[in-house]
């Protein structure tokens, strides 16, 4: 069974096609078309314990570290980067957590604003587009959703809690409610074809009206205000595209109803969000996704690990506090376990060419800090998993000496995804692509 993306031009057309598809085979092109590449970015907060994170050895001969032990089944499909430096975070307003979060995927200064952190000058949101959205500009149009952002109890909506940006002052919020995410991705409407046609026509004409109304507003208001209205227009344009194929459905996971404020549900929410993310990619609803655990400065306890002290509080303890250090290793190892679950899900989906979805993904696990108690932005703990259709030479630890600016890594990520750029973010901190050869 194959699914030519161009055929999803009628409401509901996807449903019948998909009903007979052979999942867990990815709903993608046939043998004649190359299997597409996908990018997933995973975030966990507050830095790591670097010497418990960095594997022993180098190149292809390495032993996984305590924190990364859960990734053992995927050792040959990992690329572990040692020596990436968020140099851009030395510049601009904000405290180290804010800058770490805002620079992580944008490589550019935060805007000035009214949010005061624990240090530095007050700031607003990030001052530029994030790398995933830059890639979206090239390939987002190929799928129903240009990108999908998932969150696990992110809860806040400030600069510490946003990593994906459509542009300056344009943070993209993640979907935090699995039930709502399910509905957005997989809900199907049972209706006659004529009713479906009437609905589609109404939706399109209504969105056209909204577009015209916003366009008129943008032309009449002050220029600062017009920028926000124009962003709104772009968002309406994005959802107009999603009308097509709205009834698509392909073996979505079961989504339990969970309280989104009870910290004890954190692991369960993580699991279902990852299930949804994998299903969305498997159904080719998008090719760019992210998964954000909590937020920078997250102070959640982890009762399921018997850790009652908040994560951020623990991350500020001195290196000599062995008990707290052990807790931090446990926390980061738990996140590695989550990352492994995601990889496992991706690896269980077969592509049309016999490879797995993971083989065609680049899954990047990243953090806003290196070391919590000093708020350092280097060396950033970066784990890349997947083969990206053979473009990634995995099973290695790559050490960069001298350290390399993370803007260079962002350029490389874009290049690997087919986006042809030579610099990204603040050019002061970008010297070209980072070789992962």
């Amino acid at each position: 069974m194959t699914w030519d993306i161009r055929r999803r031009s009628l409401l509901g057309a996807g449903a019948s096609l998909l009903a007979s598809s052979l999942l867990p085979r990815a709903v993608l092109a046939d043998g004649g078309t190359p299997v597409p590449k996908r990018l997933i970015i995973v975030f966990s907060a507050n830095g790591t314990i670097y010497n418990q994170w960095l594997p022993q050895g180098s190149g292809t001969t390495y032993t996984l570290s305590p924190i990364l032990t859960p990734l053992a089944p995927f050792k040959d499909r990992l690329l572990i980067l040692d020596g990436v430096n968020v140099k851009s975070a030395s510049s601009g307003p904000g405290d180290d957590h804010m800058k770490g979060m805002g620079h992580m995927l944008t490589g550019i200064e935060l805007l000035p604003g009214d949010t005061q952190g624990g240090a530095g000058t007050p700031a607003g949101f990030a001052g530029g587009i994030s790398i995933d959205q830059r890639i979206v500009a090239d390939i987002g149009g190929l799928t129903r959703f240009p990108s999908l952002e998932f969150g696990v109890m992110v809860q806040n909506s400030d600069v510490w809690s946003r990593m994906i940006y459509a542009g300056p002052n344009q943070p993209l919020p993640p979907m935090e409610d699995p039930v709502a995410a399910f509905s957005r991705l997989f809900a199907t409407a049972q209706m006659s074809s004529q009713a479906a046609a009437t609905l589609l026509k109404r939706r399109q004409s209504v969105l056209d009206f909204a577009q015209a109304s916003l366009g008129s507003l943008a032309s009449r208001v002050a220029s600062d205000d017009a920028v926000r209205v124009q962003q709104h227009q772009a968002s309406v344009a994005a959802i107009e595209k999603q009308l097509i194929g709205q009834s698509a459905s392909c073996m979505p996971p079961t989504v339990p109803t969970l309280s989104l404020t009870d910290i004890n549900n954190y692991p369960a929410i993580a699991k279902v969000q990852m299930d949804l993310l994998v299903a969305a990619l498997a159904c080719d609803q998008t090719r760019i996704a992210s998964l954000q655990f909590s937020h920078s400065v997250s102070d959640i306890p982890m009762p399921w690990l018997n850790i009652g002290t908040g994560h951020h509080t623990l991350s500020h303890t001195p290196d000599t506090d062995a008990v707290s250090q052990a807790s931090l290793v446990s926390i980061n190892t738990w996140y590695a376990t989550q990352f492994a679950y995601l990889l496992q899900g991706l690896d269980a989906v077969m592509e049309s060419d016999g490879t797995t979805l993971l083989d065609n993904c680049m899954v990047i696990w990243i953090n806003e800090l290196s070391k919590g108690n000093v708020h350092s932005h280097q060396p950033l703990p970066v784990v890349i998993a997947g083969k990206l259709g053979g473009a990634l030479n995995t099973g290695r630890v790559l050490s960069f000496s001298p350290q390399q600016p993370h803007n260079n890594l962002l350029v490389t990520v874009a290049n690997l995804m087919g986006t042809n750029i030579t610099t990204f973010g603040d050019p002061t901190f970008c010297t070209g692509p980072l070789s992962l050869a």
């Binding site: 405290d95 009214d114 949010t115 952190g117 909506s157 009449r220 959802i239 400065v297 908040g310």
Partner: protein
């Protein structure tokens, strides 16, 4: 789904006035002798009772001198900036309630409003990402479907089964005016009628009307509070608002919602132009039940109460912190605020000092109050030697606590930031911060006194910790205690850098001082200003703020009168000219 907006942490609006003083007063942080460092840092002399002020987004920072100058010329209206404001979640919920009768709070399912600064209604942060645009679309469809299937007859002036073009025209004119909060232009009516025709032609009248409702709910004129002012009445660069714009300002400020019929009628009759007319409407709205949730919204964000639902505590340290207690805490505080604002004397000192509270059996057992049974809240008098107003309630002490201990730092910082408008400068960028862990036998006060020993910590923490220690009788979930880790509680201290400096024995004493502070009342007025206008203040707001603070003072710190005074300011009654 209820969401918190942020977690307690080192975060606040910083006063640029304070920031500008930084190099002189405190060097890299709050370095210097505590005495002089304090008074300079806080930029406020006790005699003037004036406090540093927060920044105004992208605008020029306001200095104390400029903002509070006695000689400020307040003759010509000076409205300050008036950025375009998108409906917040709360405003959306209330607006569709009043427009369509929908009480499902659909915006609770939207992605949370993006936040810059203290409040979630900061205009420049309220963008519309695709996830929100999609939520608008889905919600518009649901709202239109529900309205037409349950009470079409109250909206549409004909039966859906006997619809005519004339009926559609009439509906567009009436419903459009409600939704856009002003009469529609002929062009706008024409565009909506064309949409109706497109969708009714090969389908049904009802489908056409549904399209019109969905389109209006996704239009710029509905989702934003659009204002241009009345250029024909310009006073210098300041334009008075048109009557319809003024109707929306009043109702969104006091009700978080669209104007009601009386406000529309007043606008139709051009009766919202004088200060008196505006004040009369403001007083009328304040006495409506609709004002309660809107005023609550301010308090929730000012007090960071909206963080409570996602606060987590260590169950071993705090076994009493059950999910039911968690939600009861919030209900207690909401009930108390409502009591102060609508049943009591609505004065700020009452909010800070009243021993009245509202308990159910679970709360009562934590407070040690006997005779309260059941889950419903009932009004009680707490022991005035142990509890004083909002600050010592369980919810506040829980929010301003760590998962496994109290937090003198969060508590002291809250008082400086939110009550005194004296933002604490952040720690130096390179300082390694190591908060003490809970250690058996070592009290929280003993553990945090270490800040005294480290110069980089002391300079700033001396402004926070001594105040925070005043709250040491309340543990991380607000339970009263006299012993911490086997050590007797020491909640004594001395308040410095304010207009009410002096020693205190405990939180009750401390709050008593704060409740008489001019700085606290001025700060409270300033917080309301920020909330009312969705922005920080600037030099252009000097006269508006001055009039607000003096009205609050001369009305014995009556909060209802403060809100009326907001509607009398230049910032409320005028706006700058729009230049696209």
């Amino acid at each position: 789904m209820k969401r918190a907006k942020r977690t307690p942490r080192t975060k606040h609006r910083i006063g640029l006035a304070a920031l500008l003083l930084l190099p002189i007063a405190i060097g890299a942080a709050c370095v210097g002798s505590v005495g002089s460092g304090t008074s300079q840092l806080l930029g406020a002399s006790a005699s003037s009772g004036q406090s540093p002020l927060a920044p105004a987004g992208q605008q020029a920072p306001a200095s104390d001198a400029a903002l509070d100058s006695e000689s400020a010329q307040c003759g010509t209206p000076s409205p300050g900036a008036a950025p375009l404001r998108r409906l917040t979640q709360s405003e959306y919920n209330n607006t569709v309630r009043d427009l369509l009768g929908d009480t499902t709070h659909p915006a609770d399912q939207f992605p949370p409003d993006q936040q810059i600064g203290d409040f979630t209604n900061t205009a420049v942060a309220l963008t519309v990402p695709p996830l929100l645009a999609q939520a608008y679309q889905t919600t518009a469809e649901q709202l239109a479907t529900t309205a037409l299937s349950t009470h079409a007859s109250t909206l549409v002036p004909c039966a859906l089964t006997a619809g005519t073009d004339a009926c559609a025209q009439s509906f567009i004119q009436t419903f459009g005016k409600q939704a856009y909060r002003r009469p529609l232009t002929t062009t706008e009516q024409g565009a909506l009628f064309a949409l109706y025709q497109t969708n009714s032609a090969d389908a049904t009248f009802s489908n056409g009307i549904q399209a019109v409702i969905e389109a209006i709910l996704q239009s710029g004129d509905f989702l934003y509070r659009v204002e241009f002012g009345d250029a024909s009445q310009a006073q210098g660069a300041a334009l008075p608002l048109t009557p319809y714009e003024m109707a929306s300002r009043i109702s969104y400020f006091l009700w978080d919602s669209m104007p009601d019929a009386a406000l529309f009628a007043a606008a139709d009759a051009n009766q919202l132009t004088t200060k008196e007319q505006v004040a009369t409407q403001a007083r009328r709205l304040l006495q409506s039940p609709n004002a309660q949730p809107a005023v609550q919204q301010f308090f929730q964000e000012w007090l960071t109460e909206n963080e409570l639902p996602t606060v987590s505590k260590d169950p071993t340290t705090y076994p009493a912190f059950t999910s039911t207690l968690h939600s009861s805490m919030q209900n207690e505080t909401n009930a108390f605020i409502n009591w102060v604002m609508w049943a009591s004397d609505h004065r700020l000192p009452t909010l800070l000092t009243s021993p009245v509270s509202f308990l159910n059996s679970e709360l009562a057992s934590v407070y040690g109050v006997s005779g309260v049974t059941g889950t419903a809240l009932q009004q009680v008098q707490l022991d005035p030697t142990k509890r004083s107003g909002i600050l010592t309630q369980l919810s506040m002490m829980t929010i301003l606590g760590k998962p496994d201990r109290s937090s003198p730092v969060l508590r002291g910082k809250f008082v400086r930031d939110e009550l005194l408008c004296q933002p604490i400068p952040p720690p130096p960028q390179n300082l390694v911060i190591t908060p003490p862990m809970v250690t058996p036998g070592v009290s929280t006060r003993e553990a945090f006194v270490m800040h005294e020993a480290v110069a980089e910590c002391k300079s700033c923490h001396t402004l926070m910790d001594p105040i925070g220690f005043g709250f040491e009788n309340y543990d991380g979930i607000g339970q009263f205690r006299t012993v911490d880790q086997g050590q007797p509680i020491d909640a004594t201290g001395t308040l410095t850098g304010t207009d009410v400096d002096g020693p205190f024995n405990n939180a009750i004493d401390l709050i008593k001082r704060l409740a008489t502070s001019q700085q606290v009342s001025d700060c409270f007025a300033t917080e309301w200003f920020r909330y009312a206008f969705g922005r920080g203040e600037s030099t252009d707001d000097t006269c508006s703020l001055q009039s607000l603070k003096s009205a609050f003072t001369s009305n014995q710190f009556d909060i209802q009168e403060l809100l009326v005074a907001v509607t009398q300011t230049d910032a409320f009654r005028y706006r700058p000219e729009v230049t696209p």
